[in-house]
């Protein structure tokens, strides 16, 4: 069909020709036959579809209660009273929100509709009263009004699901194949979210993808970097793809607040908390566990906030995040949460508790998984006023067998730090002094991979030093501690190995009086950034732990966040919008050279895209690091090329800018010249124009101060 666009004028002309009074035609009355678009393709098809998906019918706060007794007219009020009593306990029923239909004789039909103020209340009511036994023969069947329609649509006969032909997906790991081996990062500033390459060679970021209003709160990479998750009022969404970021899967979860991926990216945990309608009640929390690839809910957990708030501190509204901690390394096999006197460990095969019951541990305070093995570390504080010692124990999953236990006395608090390979566990123990007035700190170091898991006790030389920060070297055997009481604390490095490999911890060095309060190891180990954030205004020290020397000191004024790129080549420091000014980020090389800085107002987030672990075998890696010279030659040559090219480009650019400026100047000069007379007239004939008066000139003045003659002996 011809889709030539006719102008209004053409239409009028043809109307005249046909003898139709065009002004009489009511354009709105024209109806197209259904299915006919006259060749005009609507571009809002996608939009329509989306809306249908995102919004439900809007009756989300109405429930349908079925299986009510059928009563005659006389008893109607009594029944209504009973129902109202039951349902108004759960939430506020709207005025006229209870409707019980009757037939022509006034007999009820055995069901009613109840409209609450909020969908949450309706949801709660459904949950609480579905299956409620009014009496023996009347067990309530409660459903959401919105669901009824859905149930109606279910065909009576089962039809086999259509098997869609396999269409190959995009390579979600395409970014790893970058020729220049660059890394990506995401930033959020203002309303824009942007993914960029870190092009350190060109000393600037290279844009990949940008989208305004991409997320409603924050964005998060999945642990292996495959997906980028965004949060919305309706739920979470993951994005990914080879060239751009396409929407891959949606996870419906209204008012989702927090999300957490399992380490292997298999599952996504979403969390929301809902204000109670009744101020006496506690907040309700909803947790969903989705399969990342299919988007299916594998299991959901609902309850009051108290049930999820035990153990740990921090997080949002009393819940310590993540509620579910994933164990067993990248296989996503187990997840666990802490409850009152129990640790509940679930396995992902069936999404049920292991052995169908939780592990009972009286008064358990905290637990953590080994990052690689299905081993749990638990901490139980002192009980009975010190009669029963505090303990840390290691429990094997799924056998629930206790591998090792250590009793500790007069403990005030414990914190557990796993080394990233799961080789070591450090437990920082705060103990009361004899007077119980103050505490001092020591470390219990577990060697997980050795037979019987030997434990070593480490105490600092000055026992009264406060521990400000502790960090294991990733994949390594060393750790760093910031300790001290004064404003300039000391930093000590320890190794779990000694020269003679006797399996004893040894101190490598202590550097005194540093303005640092946070430790950031390179993900590849060996290098560490000693950072002074907050009160120290962003002092940075780049330290080489192999050589035990400082490589560089620098400052990123007011820096709030520091993050190494996944390869350990670059460090990003950023000032986020907690400060009003200086917002933006700096990119440094691993040895503390500032490569570039980007200023962005309202800067919220900087996050490197993680990389999956290397596919090279340890032997191969060893070989590469041994013959590094051979491999690096190629890259060094490339670097040089780029830097040459860059300086050439820079020169060229400057030349152009300068020339352009010269053009302006000459144009202005000419105009000035033309207007000279007029200006003189305005000044009543005063001639001098100010622009000629001063000029920068290099004048060399030589002045003879003194002349002396001296005889120099010559021998």
């Amino acid at each position: 069909m011809a889709t030539e666009v006719m102008s209004m004028e053409d239409i009028r002309a043809s109307a005249l020709r046909l003898g139709i009074d065009f002004s009489e035609v009511d354009l709105d009355s024209i109806r197209l036959p259904p299915g006919e678009d006259f060749g005009i393709i609507s571009d809002d098809e996608d939009l329509k579809e989306e809306e249908e998906l995102e919004f439900e019918a809007g009756f989300g706060n109405i429930i349908v209660v079925d299986n009510l007794p059928v009563v005659p007219k006389e008893k109607f009020e009594k029944l209504e009273g009973v129902i109202r009593k039951i349902y108004s306990q759960i939430g506020v029923i709207k005025d006229d929100g209870l409707w019980m239909p009757v037939d022509h004789t006034g007999k009820t039909l055995g069901y009613c509709f109840i409209e609450y103020n909020t969908p949450q209340e309706a949801e709660l009511a459904k949950e609480k009263t579905n299956g409620y036994k009014l009496d023996r023969s009347h067990i309530f069947a409660v459903n959401m009004f919105d669901d009824i329609e859905k149930f109606m649509k279910v065909p009576d006969e089962w039809a086999p699901p259509e098997i869609k032909p396999y269409s190959p997906g995009e390579n979600l790991q395409h970014w790893l194949t970058d020729e220049k081996a660059r890394d990506q990062f995401v930033i959020r500033a203002g309303s824009d979210t942007e993914v960029l390459w870190n092009d350190a060679r060109q000393l600037k970021p290279d844009p990949v993808y940008k989208r305004p209003f991409w997320t409603e709160s924050f964005v998060q990479w999945s642990p292996l970097g495959t997906y980028l998750a965004t949060l919305h009022r309706q739920g979470a969404v993951v994005w990914g793809g080879a060239s751009a970021f396409n929407r891959l899967t949606r996870y419906a979860h209204p008012q989702v607040r927090l999300i957490d991926f399992s380490p292997g990216e298999g599952f996504l945990v979403t969390y929301s908390s809902h204000e109670p309608s009744n101020p006496r009640d506690t907040h309700r929390v909803v947790l969903n566990i989705f399969d990342v690839r299919s988007g299916k809910v594998m299991r959901d957990f609902k309850g009051s906030v108290d049930e999820f708030a035990i153990g740990g501190t921090g997080g949002v509204t009393g819940v310590s995040w993540p509620v579910f901690r994933w164990g067993g390394g990248k296989d996503d096999k187990y997840f666990a949460r802490i409850g009152k006197n129990v640790i509940s460990v679930y396995e992902t095969e069936t999404f049920t508790l292991i052995d169908k019951k939780s592990i009972k541990v009286e008064n358990v305070m905290d637990f953590s998984w080994s990052p690689t093995d299905p081993i749990l570390a638990l901490f139980v504080p002192e009980l009975g006023g010190g009669n029963q010692p505090a303990r840390v124990s290691l429990v094997q999953i799924p056998s629930k067998e206790e591998l090792r236990q250590k009793n500790l006395f007069s403990v005030s608090d414990c914190k557990m730090y796993w080394q990233s390979n799961g080789d070591y566990l450090a437990v920082k123990v705060d103990r009361y002094t004899k007077t119980k007035k103050s505490t001092y700190t020591g470390f219990e170091l577990f060697r997980i991979k050795e037979r019987d898991i030997p434990i070593e006790v480490l105490e600092l030389e000055n026992k009264n030093d406060k521990i400000i920060a502790f960090a294991w070297e990733p994949k390594g055997h060393r750790f760093a501690v910031i300790h001290g009481d004064n404003p300039r604390p000391d930093i000590s490095f320890y190794s779990m190995r000694t020269a003679h490999n006797t399996g004893r911890v040894s101190k490598l060095t202590t550097i005194k009086g540093k303005q640092a309060n946070a430790l950031y190891w390179s993900p590849a180990g060996r290098f560490i950034v000693l950072a002074g954030l907050k009160n120290f205004n962003g002092q940075l020290e780049f330290y080489n732990v192999d050589e035990l020397e400082t490589m560089a000191t620098a400052e990123h004024f007011m820096a709030t966040d520091i993050e190494w790129d996944p390869t350990g080549r670059y460090v990003a420091t950023s000032v986020t919008s907690v400060h009003e000014m200086e917002n933006g980020f700096n990119i440094w090389s691993f040895n503390g050279k500032l490569l570039y800085r980007i200023l962005k107002d309202h800067f919220f987030q900087f996050s490197w895209r993680p990389r999956p672990p290397s596919l090279l075998s340890p032997e191969k890696e060893e070989e590469i690091s041994k013959n590094l010279k051979k491999y690096s030659k190629k890259y060094e040559a490339e670097d040089q090329d780029v830097s040459l090219q860059l300086s050439e480009q820079e020169r060229e650019k400057r030349k152009i800018v300068k020339e352009e400026w010269e053009r302006w100047i000459s144009e202005w000069k000419q105009l000035q010249e033309e207007e000279k007379l007029e200006r003189q007239k305005l000044r009543d004939g005063e001639a001098s124009d100010e622009e000629e008066e001063y000029e920068a000139k290099d004048v060399e003045v030589e002045e003879l101060l003194d002349v002396q003659e001296e005889v120099i002996s010559f021998d």
Binding site: E580, M581, L671, Q672, E675, E678, R679, L682, D689, Y694
Partner: protein
């Protein structure tokens, strides 16, 4: 060289102006007394008493005989520079924010703030040779921009008036007819209020400073955006070197936020940029508050900065300055 610290004002500085010869420096502050200093050694020469409110702006005639000041007391006053006597008072119904003499000193443009329901306005006054003949009549009154107009200056040959203010738009007006000729492009222009505007010595281009943490260089006739200088903090004052291709930006946060921020967080530095390459060259520290005013000596060998801290700092450049290469 060590800067000369000029203490004379009791309240934050608002404006600085050198005379054409570069031997006198006029300063305005929120105290009510504009002051004149020797630009060479920072000695105080005298004050102009008579205003009854913060003085926002001043301009001095080409022959250094007349001083025009605009004040929050709803007046603009003409002074005899030498004797300090008031020659004439222009009365307005709202505070005056900026004043500027036209070429030939026979015209002045004065802006007034929105006040008690009155909108802001740009007013053109004739300046009489003989103060006895001076009248307060406005030849032209321009209205339209929303919010305060922070600065209005004359264009080439007094044919246009250039204004900038809180609505973040730079406008060029015909000074004869009062017609709006040009407006700065929304995309290219400032995103937040314009705080200051300063002409080049030959009145061919000008620089504007804004709270959007940038300063922009414009062609005065076509309003073409030539350069943008970005910084980390709101810009309160801008100035261009008459000698070298340098611009200076001064600023800091709002005065109300000074006490709640680290003194280094405000970074009350005067920042030097290469005018052509738009790159930062260096900074001059010193003030204990945001910088509100900047001015270059017409010889380009010194500059003055005025701060929220009530001080004027007079900086004579070291010889190194003239050899900066980037």
């Amino acid at each position: 060289m060590r800067p000369i610290l000029m203490k004379g004002h009791e309240r934050p500085l608002t404006f600085l102006k050198y005379n054409r010869d570069g031997d006198l420096l006029f300063s305005c502050a929120k105290d009510h007394t504009p002051t004149v200093w020797f630009a060479d050694n920072g000695e105080r020469l005298g004050t102009y008493r008579g205003h009854n409110g913060a003085v926002w702006c001043c301009d001095v005639s080409r022959d250094s005989s007349l001083l025009l000041t605009g004040s929050a007391d709803q007046t603009a006053k003409l002074w005899n520079v030498k004797t300090g006597t008031q020659l004439y008072t222009f009365n307005f119904d709202s505070p005056t924010r900026s004043v500027d003499f036209g070429v030939g000193d026979k015209l002045a443009v004065i802006t007034t703030d929105p006040f008690m329901g009155l909108p802001s306005a740009i007013q053109v006054k004739r300046i009489a040779r003989d103060p006895a003949d001076q009248s307060g009549e406005s030849i032209l009154v321009l209205k339209g921009p929303q919010g305060r107009i922070n600065r209005a200056v004359w264009g080439p040959l007094n044919k246009t008036i250039i204004s900038g203010g809180e609505d973040s738009v730079i406008r060029i007006w015909d000074s004869e007819t009062g017609k709006l000729l040009k407006e700065s492009d929304k995309e290219a222009g400032h995103k937040k209020g314009i705080t200051s505007l300063s002409k080049s010595n030959d009145a061919t281009h000008f620089i504007s400073g804004s709270l959007d943490k940038s300063a922009k260089l414009w062609d005065m006739r076509t309003l073409t955006l030539l350069k943008t200088y970005t910084t980390e903090r709101p810009v309160n004052a801008v100035a261009m070197s008459p000698l070298l291709d340098h611009v200076v930006l001064g600023g800091g946060q709002d005065a109300s936020a000074v006490t709640t921020t680290d003194h280094r967080a405000g970074k009350f530095e005067a920042k030097f940029y290469d005018k052509v390459l738009q790159e930062e060259i260096g900074g001059v520290k010193g003030h204990f508050g945001p910088i509100n005013a900047l001015a270059f000596n017409p010889d380009g060998k010194s500059f003055a900065s005025g701060g929220e801290d009530g001080y004027v700092r007079l900086h004579h450049f070291d010889p190194d300055y003239f050899n900066i290469k980037i």
